[in-house]
Each structure stands twice: as C-alpha cells, then as structure tokens.
C-alpha cells in the first residue's frame, strides 16, 4: 500500500510539471504579450516599457524557470488587470467553484447510482430503455439551455429558487442540477454496465447459491465491483465540473474560478491564466489520486501482492 502511494505521487508530480510547462508555452503562443497588454492605441515606446516592466524582454527559458521557481514557493505572481496577487484572486473565488462542483457531483451520484442499478436489474425492459433515453437526452442537452429553462420555471414562474448570485445554499441548487446533468449520463451508463457485468459473474452465482438476500447480492457483492470504474470516472467528472463550469458560472452569475479564467483570457492577463490552469491541473491530479486510493480500498487486487 505504501509503495502504491509513492508510485502514485511520483506520477502526480510528473503530470503537474508537464501541465506547468504546457500552460506556460500556450500563453506565449497567443502572440506578443506586451503588445496585447498595451492595447491597440499604445505607441511603440509604451510597448517597450511594458516589455521591460514585466520582464518579457528576458530569454523565454529564464522567464519560465523564474515562474516555476516562484510557483513552487506558492507565489503565482500578480495580475496585470486586477492589480492583486493571483493567489489571493484564486483563493477568493475557489470556495464558490468548489461548492458548485461538489453540489453537482453529489446530485449526479444520488441520481445516477440508483438509476444505473435499476436499469441493470431490469435489463432490456421498458424501464431500462426509459433510463437509457433519459441519459441520452441528458447528454444531448446544452447546459446553458437547461440552465435558462430551470431559471424560467423554478426561478421565475414558481419562485422556488433564486436565479443568480451566491448568497445562500439555495443559490447553488439550480447550477448544481445543471452541472450534474453533464455527469449523469456517463455515470448512469457506467453503473448500469458495471452492474450488468457483475450480476453475470461467477461470484454472484456463488452469492445466490449461498442463499444471500437480494439486497446483499446487489449492494454488497455486485455494487462494490461495479463501483470501481464509476469512482474513477466520477473523479474525472468532478475535475471537469471544477474546471469547466465557466458557462454555468456565467449563466448564474457565480463568480468562481471559471469566471475568473474567462475574464483573464479576454484581458490577456497571462499570470492569472497560467495560475488557474496550474491550480486546476493540480486539483485534477489530486482527484485522480483520491480516486485511485478509493479504488484500492474497493478492490484489494490493486493494492499489490
């Protein structure tokens, strides 16, 4: 188990390093940073001044190692536009994004696990097909559209939930549902497929031959094995929700990290863009590790001999 952890940590560090490099290169590929920061009406002298002030005249490699060195100590630099520490900016907005992402994941799991199990138990019946259709529609539905529909019905017509802002937990329900819809189809199908495979396995036949109750067969013996791919994908989905909630944060006016990234890209505020990419990547890597650990708990074979 210890070796397993060490191995995973080394891989995680390598992935983080790769992402740092890519984030750096990508921001430099978007054109001359000094020119775009200066704006369309700037003179050549202004641009040169900006180039000097932000250290953009130095060789690219030295800029890179300078940034990496600071990032490792937790210093992500300063935003050109907000005139604030990037780490402060991200820290301010992270709670909104985390709350939204976790709400989305919890709703997605609460919906898709029972639906997947139900569809598997009733394989190839009308109920199974209905569940599959729902999953298909969920996948095909654009999230901004679903967001607007929810706002009109639950928010404006019924008045049950607030339609924008971050004042209370109620504010996170609608965006959470919309976000969950992006994960529900995949998680439902995966649960269904995993349960069908597990229910057809020899050890389930053994469990039945032992006269165990239906609940024990389904929830103890089958679900534990079916859950292994679900956990892995749920972690990836949570990563998507945290990083990809830009549209939802826009629609519901939630000022989270996604919103920050969108603003910064528009303003060519590259220290913020680099930092957001890095932070999200680190979260992503950490989530994958958590998923691997949870899978090692679920499946003893993954813990090594």
């Amino acid at each position: 188990m210890f070796n397993f952890l060490i191995r995973r940590l080394v891989v995680a560090a390598l992935v983080a390093a790769t992402v740092m490099t890519l984030a750096f290169i990508l921001t430099r590929l978007s054109g001359d940073l000094a020119t775009s920061i200066a704006g369309p009406n700037a003179t050549q002298a202004d641009i040169e001044a900006i180039r000097l002030a932000y250290g953009l005249d130095r060789p690219v490699l030295s800029q890179f190692f300078d940034w990496v060195g600071r990032a490792l100590t937790g210093d992500l630099g300063e935003s050109y536009f907000f005139k604030a520490r990037v780490s402060t900016l991200i820290a301010e907005r992270m709670p909104v994004t985390l709350t939204l992402g976790l709400t989305g994941l919890v709703i997605a799991l609460v919906v898709s696990l029972p639906l997947g199990i139900l569809a598997a138990v009733r394989e190839n019946t009308g109920l199974d097909r209905v569940v599959q259709m729902v999953a298909l529609f969920g996948q095909a539905m654009p999230s901004f559209w679903l967001g607007l529909i929810l706002m009109i019905t639950l928010g404006l017509n019924l008045g049950w939930l607030p339609i924008s802002g971050t004042g209370s937990w109620q504010h996170f329900v609608m965006p959470g549902i919309v976000l969950a819809f992006s994960a529900i189809p995949a998680l439902t199908r995966l649960t269904r497929a995993g349960m069908i495979q597990a229910m057809g396995s020899d050890y389930i036949r053994t469990a039945r031959a032992k006269g165990l109750s239906r609940a024990s067969i389904l929830l103890k013996h089958a679900l534990r094995n079916a859950a292994i791919p679900v956990v892995a994908i749920a972690a990836v989905q949570l990563g998507f929700m945290l990083g990809g909630s830009i549209v939802i944060e826009q629609v519901f006016a939630l000022h989270g990290v996604g919103f920050l990234a969108w603003e910064s890209i528009g303003k060519n505020d590259f220290p913020v863009v680099q930092a957001v990419v890095l932070v999200l990547a680190v979260i992503y890597v950490a989530l994958t590790m958590v998923a691997d650990l949870m899978n090692a708990v679920l499946d003893p074979r993954l813990r090594g001999p």
């Binding site: 396995s201 036949r205 053994t206 469990a207 165990l212 013996h221 499946d299 003893p300």
Partner: protein, 318 residues
C-alpha cells in the same frame, strides 16, 4: 423414508427452440454420491442449476416432482429457495478462480453464510470458518481468513469454496465439475477430501463430471446423460461391469484401463457430435452416432430395467 433429493421428469428449456434437459429423473440418498456423467453440453450443469433454482433468466423449468427432504421445491418462491440454498443444500462450482468475490476476504465471504442462515455472531461464525478451513486441509486458517481470493492458488480457493459450502451443515452438496479447472495432483486431493467429508458428515452428494476415472473412484451411483436425457442409470460397479446403452459402452471404451488394454490397441472414440435438440424431437438422440441404430430408433424409446436399480433407454434389450 423418502430420498434426500427426488427429481422426476425435470425439463429445462431456453427460449422456445432449445431443450437443454428433457425429462430427467434422479434421486440422491443420504450418504451417497450420485455422479452425473456426460459430454459438455449434455445438460449436467443445467440439471444442477435447475435443482438449486439458479438458472439464468429466460429459461423455464418444469418437473412432475422435485422434493428435497420431503419439501416440494416446485412450490417454493425465491425467498423459500434462498432459505434452503447455502443452508441445507449447498453448491460448489467448476471455476474456483472466479467463483469467489475478489473484493472481500475469505473470512467475510465464509461467515456471511452462517450469519445469514443461522443468525450466528461474527465471532462464532469466524471460529466455525477457521475450523472448517482446517478441516478441508488448509494450514494457518487464521491467516487465510484475512486474505483475499487473489492471494490464494486455485486448489486453495476450491478448498475455501468447499469449506464455505459446509458452513451450515448441509444435507446435500451439489458439486459441478469441482476439479476440472485444477492440476491433476490437486484434483486427486480435492476428490479425496470430498469423499472423506461425504463419509464423515453423511452428506448426500450430487457430483457432476465428464471424467469416468472420477466416477469409478467416488460414485455410489451413476447416471449417464446424453442430449438432455439420462440414458442409463445404475450402481457404479454394475455400470462398469455391465453397461447396456451403446453410449455408455462407447464412453467406457474411451477410457484406458491399465492391464486390460494392449499397448498397441487404439483407444476408442465416438464419432460425431451431440445434436441440438428442440421441442418435438422424438426417438433416440444418440441414433445418428450409434452403430446399432435402425429406423425404429426414430420412434419413442422405452426405458428398460436390466436389473433392479439399473435401467437404460434403448430399444436393444439384449
């Protein structure tokens, strides 16, 4: 006293086109080992699963009579069957590598049976599991209880399966080719163990196999199956000494007998394959592979008794 397991006229079909088992009758007495032999696909395993009511969805089972300890299995619902399974009737399977749940320890899988059926405490169940592991010849049972299936060899896993089947002191043990997936040396050990347990615990055993060597060693009674029917049934010694059905004779010719066989004499074989049988099939299913078949074999074949307790299904009465 009635037989421990009494099955009469069992039929199992899959869909409307395939008849897997066609009117089988068999009994298992207390303390006897009844062997069901036949080629792959002849319906041996399906028969066993039908008795346990573990057939896959989409299959249908009918019988004139099916009783276990005098209780009518045909009238039991799922819950009633679940009460018997793992309790008074237990089953072990051909694939020890995949028949245990990879996610739970040996101990957890063994104890849950006793806890479910006898309401035993975890502690009592663990003690019983350790005793049984020792009984089936596993050293360091305490260690094994905490291990996961992937940490055990195939032979050990099959011993675990057997010990698990014995947790609730069953009356009937159904073993579906329990040694097929194992090494030859391990096979012998497992068979010896089954025979020993059967004698010591007075179990009724229904042993399914395609290996006549196994039959000769452990069976008290043999039923030979072909294409979903029992074509011959007799006490073991009688069947080997005086086989009546051409299929049984053919099977016996396929097994080398040391001392009886000249070294240059080729081993026998039965030409052809088992036919696929649908509903409405009449006559002898073996007729296309049989040396003695004529046109009368396409009609309904009566069951003859060669002697008390020895009957076979063939038009040849000599």
């Amino acid at each position: 006293m009635s037989a421990l397991l009494d099955v009469e006229g069992l039929e199992v079909g899959f869909g409307s086109r395939t008849s897997a088992v066609r009117g089988i009758s068999l009994t298992v007495e207390r303390g006897e080992t009844h062997c069901l032999v036949g080629e792959s696909g002849c319906g041996k395993s399906v028969t066993a699963l039908a008795v346990m009511n573990l057939l896959a969805r989409g299959s249908h089972r009918t019988a004139r009579r099916m009783t276990f300890q005098g209780e009518d299995l045909l009238k039991l619902n799922d819950r009633g069957m679940a009460r018997l399974r793992g309790n008074a009737m237990a089953m072990i399977f051909q694939e020890p590598m995949t028949s245990l749940n990879p996610a739970y320890t040996v101990g957890s899988q063994m104890t849950e049976v006793l806890r479910r059926h006898k309401g035993a405490s975890q502690r009592a169940a663990t003690d019983r599991a350790a005793d049984l592991l020792a009984r089936v010849g596993i050293t360091a049972p305490g260690l094994r209880l905490g291990q996961f299936p992937h940490q055990l060899s195939g032979g050990l896993r099959q011993r675990v399966m057997i010990a698990m089947a014995l947790m609730c002191d069953p009356q009937l043990l159904i073993a579906d080719e329990p040694t097929t997936a194992l090494d030859v040396t391990v096979q012998a050990q497992i068979l010896r163990l089954l025979a020993e347990l059967q004698r010591d615990l007075g179990l009724g055993v229904l042993l399914i196999t395609h290996d006549l060597g196994i039959v000769a060693r452990v069976a008290t009674r043999v039923s030979v199956m072909y294409a979903g029917e029992v074509v011959e049934s007799a006490a073991t010694a009688q069947l080997f000494a005086d086989p009546r059905h051409p299929y049984t004779k053919g099977l016996l010719r396929c097994v080398p007998v040391p001392g009886k066989q000249r070294q240059d004499e080729p081993l026998g074989s039965i030409p052809g394959t088992v036919p696929r049988i649908g509903p409405g099939f009449a006559g002898c299913a073996f007729r296309e592979r049989c040396d003695f078949a004529d046109e009368t074999c396409a009609h309904i074949i009566p069951r003859h008794a060669a002697s008390p307790g020895h009957d076979y299904l063939c038009r040849l009465t000599a």
